[in-house]
């Protein structure tokens, strides 16, 4: 059975915080809950960005996700 939205968000955040790589593609979060549809995973990850717990990093052609403070910040 698929995780609830809050459970899914917690699993995504946990992965984003502890994964060896600081920046992850949306597909890397699919494994957080194999029963959730890709669209549900994407929506949960985007909601975490809206809540300020994660950030987008974009090259312009592709987009990655990172837990707050883990993204490569070119301004620092």
């Amino acid at each position: 059975m698929a995780l609830s939205k809050e459970e899914l968000k917690a699993a995504i955040l946990e992965k984003a915080t502890n994964a060896p790589k600081p920046q992850l593609y949306v597909k890397d979060f699919y494994a957080c809950d194999p029963d959730s549809k890709p669209r549900a995973v994407k929506n949960a990850a985007n909601e975490l960005v809206k809540e300020g717990k994660m950030a987008f990093w974009s090259s312009g052609s592709t987009t990655m996700y990172a837990a707050k403070g883990r993204a490569k910040d070119e301004e620092k």
Binding site: K27, R39, A55, F56, W57, S58, T62, T63, A66, E74
Partner: protein, 426 residues
């Protein structure tokens, strides 16, 4: 006054075309950071390497696209372009602007950025080139509140949909490209503004097979207007062209004397499927063999028009040569109804079927066309629940890459070739 010595950049102004270097110098009188662009570009020419860093975390609140972060790796040397972010604006369908709107956006950009624009970027957006991080939120506020204008797509988002002039100005258009483009832009706001996919995804809409937005070469999902019935023929106008009463190609080549119009040489012999002939003074077309190349219609628009049963062909999977070489889109659905009355539900159904599959099967940074190449067209067509037809080929009449399963061939793999050859000569 130029701030940096730029001999190599200056050289570019000597060519026969208007130069962006001249434009930059002109703009630099108002926006001094433009001198630093020229200086940094000269340095890149000298070092033979870019001095822009790759990407960043910039954006505006609630959006995950539309702003592309650009930072310099030599900020002390060229402080005016230490940050030089790009902003993509969602252009109106078919790029119809009022001059008032263009003046407003230019004034806003001189206030909040470098004043430099790109009309338009490759995907179609109106691109504002160069601003600093602190200006992004104020710019976004002004843009959305004062100009009623929104950002376009970037990153792993649905990119800003783009269409040809369509029925607004073109008699060939078989579908209302502007209505379709606008409807899907509004319908997929979430996908345009926030990342949704393994990689970028582009829609482009052309009203007829002339494909003036090059959808078949540039978009993951190309909608090309077409017709299902017969080309409409006005035989008296055909005679008019043969007699020289009308200029061929609507006069497009009238600047030079090409001699008398020759329908055999200029139309019939050039038909790629040889499906046309003159019988006496009458032009005949074997419509079942027409591939919709549009050549005859383009040459004799008074005499020939697309048929009346109109819709679209859907081609999937074009891309530029970043990873695996350039790729044209593959014809996937030969004919689809495109109906504004039901909010284009047939088109939306196809799009979402592709997305659901690609989001699951596509690898990171893999365009849908690359996924199709990797798994094979037959697998993709099964997912799309499309019956395989002879037109599902890589190139017409060569290289078919649809293969039959044993159960789909009469007699399977064990049939007698001798028996087969009795009926089919080699």
């Amino acid at each position: 006054m130029p701030k940096h010595d730029t001999p190599m950049i200056d050289e570019l102004e000597s060519g026969p075309w208007p130069s962006f270097v001249t434009d930059l110098k002109r703009q630099a009188e108002k926006s001094p950071q433009c001198w630093d662009i020229l200086g940094k570009m000269e340095l890149s020419f000298r070092d033979r390497i870019t001095h822009w860093k790759h990407g960043g975390i910039v954006g505006v609140f609630g959006y995950g696209g539309g702003i592309v972060g650009r930072y310099s790796d030599v900020p002390e040397q060229y402080p005016g372009v230490a940050h030089f972010h790009t902003v993509r604006l969602n252009q109106p369908s078919s790029k119809f602007y009022t001059t008032e709107k263009l003046r407003q956006v230019c004034d806003l950009w001189e206030k909040r950025g470098s004043g430099m624009t790109n009309m338009h970027g490759s995907t179609g957006d109106l691109v504002l080139l160069g601003t600093t991080t602190d200006q992004l939120e104020p710019l976004f506020w002004d843009l959305t509140h004062d100009l009623n204008w929104d950002l376009g797509g970037s990153g792993s988002n649905l990119r800003t949909p783009s269409c040809c002039l369509g029925k607004a100005r073109c008699e060939y258009s078989c579908i209302d490209t502007q209505a379709l483009c606008h409807h899907l832009t509004m319908h997929y706001q979430d996908e345009i503004h926030r990342p949704a996919f393994p990689y970028k995804f582009k829609f482009k809409f052309s009203g007829c097979p002339n494909d003036c937005v090059a959808a078949i070469a540039r978009s993951d999902f190309a909608v090309l207007g077409t017709w299902k019935d017969d080309i409409r023929i006005d035989q008296s106008a055909v005679k008019g062209y043969v007699n020289g009463d009308f200029a061929s190609n609507a006069g497009a080549h009238a600047g030079r004397d090409w001699g008398k119009f020759d329908i055999e040489k200029e139309v019939i012999d050039l038909c790629p499927t040889h499906c046309m002939r003159m019988k006496g003074e009458e032009l005949q077309i074997d419509n079942s063999n027409c591939t919709r190349c549009m050549h005859c219609i383009n040459v004799m628009p008074r005499a020939l028009r697309p048929g009346l049963e109109q819709g679209a062909t859907i081609c999937v999977g074009a891309k530029a040569p970043i990873l695996d070489g350039a790729q044209f889109a593959t014809m996937t659905i030969p004919f689809l109804k495109v109906d504004p009355e039901n909010d284009f539900e047939e088109v939306i159904e196809v799009i979402e079927k592709i997305w659901d599959w690609w989001m699951e099967v596509g690898k990171n940074r893999e365009r849908v066309g690359e996924t199709i190449m990797r798994v094979g067209l037959p697998t993709f067509l099964k997912v799309m629940e499309v019956d395989i037809v002879p037109q599902h080929v890589k190139e017409p009449r060569s290289n078919p890459y649809v293969f039959w399963g044993e159960d789909e061939v009469e007699g399977g793999w064990d049939r007698s070739v001798v028996e087969f050859r009795k009926r089919h000569a080699q």
